[in-house]
Each structure stands twice: as C-alpha cells, then as structure tokens.
C-alpha cells in the first residue's frame, strides 16, 4: 500500500473505531487512537497474513500485549475480511465474541490478552517455535508504556535476547500517559532506551504516528542479526482527534454524540486531504 494510502486507511480505521466505541458505549479510546498508525502499517504493509486462512502456519504473528486497545485491531481485521464488518456493531454487547480485550475465538487473533505483561513472553514462545520448525515468520508485539512496569515484561526481554530472537519485534506505544497520569509521574520509565539496550535488544525510536517513518523502519529490521528489535514508537494518546489528544481521561472516555460528529469530521478531512 502506498504511503498516502496508509495515512488514509489509518484515518478510516479511526473513524470505524470511534463509531464502534460510541455504539457500544464502552472502550479504550485514547490508546486505540494512539496505536492505529502502528497497526495500520503492520497489517497493510508489513505482515504476511491471509484472511481466508487465519491459521496459515507461515503467517506473521501480532500479539496485542496492551490488549485494552483492541478496538483498532478489531476494525482492521474486519476491514481485511477476517470477519464481517457488520459484526463490529456487536462489540462488547451481550454474548458477543468481540470482547473488550482480544479474544482468539475471533479469526486473526492469536491469543487472549488483557492482563498486562503477558504478550512478550507469549511472543518469545511463538518466535522459538518458528525457529524450531524452520519457518521465517515475524512476531510483532505491541506493548503499552505503562505496561512496562510489569516485571514479567523484563523476564521475557531477557529470554528474547538470550535466545537471539531476531525475528521478534517489540513495539512500545510510547504515548507517555497511563490512567493515573504521566508515565513518568506514576512510575518512571526513563531512560527507556537504555533499559532495553542493557537487556540485549537493538532499540530504535520513531514517530509512532508517522506511517511512512514506521514503514521505513520496520522494513530494515533486524538491523543487528541475532538481536531482537525494540521500537520506541512515540505516539500521541488520542491521536487524530484534536480534543482527545494527550487528555488522560480519554483513556476510556466514550465520545458523546457531539464529540463523535466533530471527531468524524476531523478524520474525514484527514482521509480526504491525503487522497
């Protein structure tokens, strides 16, 4: 997909997820908006996946370790044809399989996540299995920055470097906000690059809302053979909706009718402008 098309696609996904959250009257809005560009680049430019064969053994894997921002993922999987787009209207409703966190009964979702600090360990296992079976698939894991306070993340970080898993790409959605406020006030993460480097990873920083920069970087990985790659994707929580950007309560704020209309207008302009 061309770069300008990725930008347009990201705006469309944001519109879909806002409508979905508004309809369901629940959702993690801010984080889903911040990670939309990352997921768009992964699913429309990078990953080998086949909606007709969700369990294709050679597929690239995506693990949503920050499972709470599942809305963008559901919208993308529906858009790609893993399941009917109409099903998005059932999000979080009684009996729906579109639960508020990833559910692997939904085609295209590998693992149930939602409890933080699990995804990187699971990804280490998937990457190890790929090596054992001689498959060259990539495993991408998206973590929240607030999530990095979980000790199990660092157990997995150690293991990934120990086993030289260079097919593994960890991405930190570095939006600098968690539910109680700034990540640096709640539990300081900096120096974040140094932490990952000292755990044996090759670390890259990128504007995580710049689809072109993300694509360029992802295509170069791994830059150091034998080392797992970590991307610090600097993002803006609530990205794409001016009045939601960097506002902590949009973590799980549900847009009102007026807010939805304003947001959709902004995003439509974005999608249109980049046509």
């Amino acid at each position: 997909m061309e770069t300008h098309e990725l930008k347009r696609k990201a705006a469309q996904i944001r519109m879909d997820l806002l409508k979905m959250i508004h309809g369901a009257k629940t959702g993690h809005t801010g984080g889903s908006l911040s990670n939309t560009d990352i997921l768009t680049v992964l699913y429309y430019s990078m990953m080998k996946v086949d909606p007709q064969q969700p369990k294709w053994p050679d597929r690239d894997r995506f693990i949503a370790s920050k499972g709470h921002s599942v809305e963008s993922l559901y919208c993308i999987l529906a858009d790609k044809g893993f399941f009917p787009k109409e099903e998005l209207a059932t999000f979080s409703r009684f009996g729906s399989r579109l639960i508020g966190h990833p559910n692997n009964k939904v085609p295209g979702i590998e693992m149930n996540t939602g409890a933080l600090g699990h995804g990187l360990s699971v990804s280490v296992g998937i990457a190890l299995a790929g090596r054992m079976d001689g498959r060259d698939y990539r495993t991408y894991t998206l973590m929240g920055d607030g999530e990095l306070a979980e000790g199990s993340v660092w157990e997995a970080a150690m293991a990934a470097a120990h086993y030289k898993l260079d097919t593994l790409v960890g991405i930190v959605d570095r939006n600098r906000l968690q539910i109680s406020g700034s990540t640096e006030d709640v539990m300081a993460l900096e120096p974040l690059r140094g932490k990952w480097e000292s755990f044996g990873w090759t670390v890259h920083e990128v504007d995580g809302n710049d689809t072109a920069a993300l694509e360029t970087l992802l295509r170069q990985l791994p830059t150091v053979p034998g080392k797992p790659s970590l991307i610090i994707a600097n993002t803006v929580k609530g990205k794409g909706v001016s009045f939601a950007e960097n506002v902590p309560h949009w973590h799980h704020h549900v847009p009102s009718d007026d807010e939805l209309a304003l947001a959709l207008a902004e995003l439509a302009k974005e999608a249109g402008e980049t046509l």
């Binding site: 149930n112 699990h118 699971v122 296992g125």
Partner: protein, 316 residues
Amino acid sequence: MTTVNKIANRQVICETLVEQAATDRDIVVLASDSRGSAALAPFAKAYPEQFVETGIAEQNIVGIAAGLASAGKKPFVASPACFLSMRAIEQIKVDVAYSATNVKLIGISGGVSYGALGMSHHSLQDIAVTRAIPGLTVILPADRHETRRATEALLQHEGGVYMRIGRNPVQDCYESAEAIPFEIGKAVELRQGDAVTLIAAGETVRVALDAADALAAEGIACRVLNMHTIKPLDAEAVLRAARETAGIITLEEHSIHGGLGAAVAEVVVAHQPVPMRIVGIPDEPAITGTTAELFEHYGISVANIRELVADLLRER
C-alpha cells in the same frame, strides 16, 4: 505386599517424554532452572533442540509455553508446584486456560514434598486455585505406574492440564503401568466395599489402600476411589459411593479448603447428602518435617482413618 519403590514419579515423566520425543518432534520441555529437581536433565541432553530453559521465571515460562503451543508445539512445563501454581497463576488462567492453548503444566515437588522448607515451598492451595479456572484439567497421579499412564494420556489430550507430583518415590499402588485402566476424568475403584468410601488422590492413595487393607482384616470393607483427576471430577463415582456406603472420607495432601474434599462435597451436598470427613492440612502453615511425619501429624494415617470410619459407621 508391594515392593519398595525407589523410582520417583518425576523420573517416570522424563522417561516417558524421552521415549515419545523420538517420534514426536513437537514435544517441547521447559524448565525454570528446574531440570535437576524435575529429573529432566536426560531429556535436555537427548533433545536439546526440544528443550527450553527460562531461568527462574515462572510467569515467563508459562507465557513462553503458551506461545509455543499457539504455534503448534506440545509444551510440558516442569517447575516446582509451589511457584508454578502461585507465581504464574495469571498466565495459567489467561495464556493457557482462557486462550485454550495445549500446555501441560507439571507441578513438581508438590504438596509437602519440601516439608522442612516451610510454607513458601509447600503447595497446599494449588488444587483449589487451578480447579477454579474454567477449561483447566487437574490431575494427581498416585504412583509411578499411574504417572506413566497419565503422562501418555497428556500427550493425547488437547488442552491445558495441571498435573501435580511429589518429589520422592512413593510406594506402588498398582503392579504395573499396563495394569491401569487410566482415563482422564474417570476414578479408579481400587478396593470394593460398602462400609465407608475413602477417596484419595496422589500420594494419599497409598495411605487409603493401607487403611482399607487394615480395616478389611478386621472385617470392615471400605471402598477406595483413586480420584486421580480432580477436575473434571468423576461425579458419578462419587454419587455411587454416596448411595452405596455409609459416608465418605477424603484424603488429600492439600489444604482442607478448596481441594479434593471440597470438590467431592460440592457434588455430594447437591445430589446425595451423606456424612463426610475431609482430611488434609488444616488452615495453618504446615509444621516442619518429612512427608511421612506431616501425614502422620495431620491424620493422613491408617490410625486416624480407622477412627473416622468407626465414627461414620456409628452415624449410619
């Protein structure tokens, strides 16, 4: 009379996995600096490419195993039951049970195997927590022969299982592995009788057999059920015992709260209320000692069972 057995259940698991791995390259064994205590060093040596060491990191080992399983592997995690079932319980709940991955969790040195090491090293709540998790199967094999059959069954079974074994060799309950009709979820009636039913699992099965044999010599025929699978529980066998005998005594190397006794009571109380006694470790940090000393101290003993059987027969 049974012969003195010197082979620990953990060794049997390793032997079985080494045999099966020769033809099944998807078997992967994971250890958390526990290959020695799990007696898995021979597997690590024979199949280094099918062995994953995670270091002392129980959360990570379960997550990695779930990832391996999601990519088609058949992972067996061997880690001390006390840590595996507590430190990694959220990974067990989410990555194994909820995600429906085919992970086999082997809790080694379970119960009071580390009797002298204190409550940190006892796993006396593991059955309570694992059996409360939907989709997880919970198994305690009685002796080395049943451990072999259980391990073989795990290889055929698709889905998450927690299997707890003890550290030390236990006296045989069966004459050979071939003699066992092992089926997950199906209790084995090891002694027939209509006086009182003794229901046991894991290392307490041998105690139940010894008690039943002693009572049989006195003319009291107790039924013994080896409830090797605590979840899913063989409710039919429990209800037959409730209908056909004067009462039920459960024996477990576990807290009296939430384990085998509770599982049996849940069935009995709803469908066929009968007098019961739940024998296990009371709600306290267990006293220091060997497994045998602790069993004796807490009444997992022939003498105590004899008294409890007499009680129940008086109530009949």
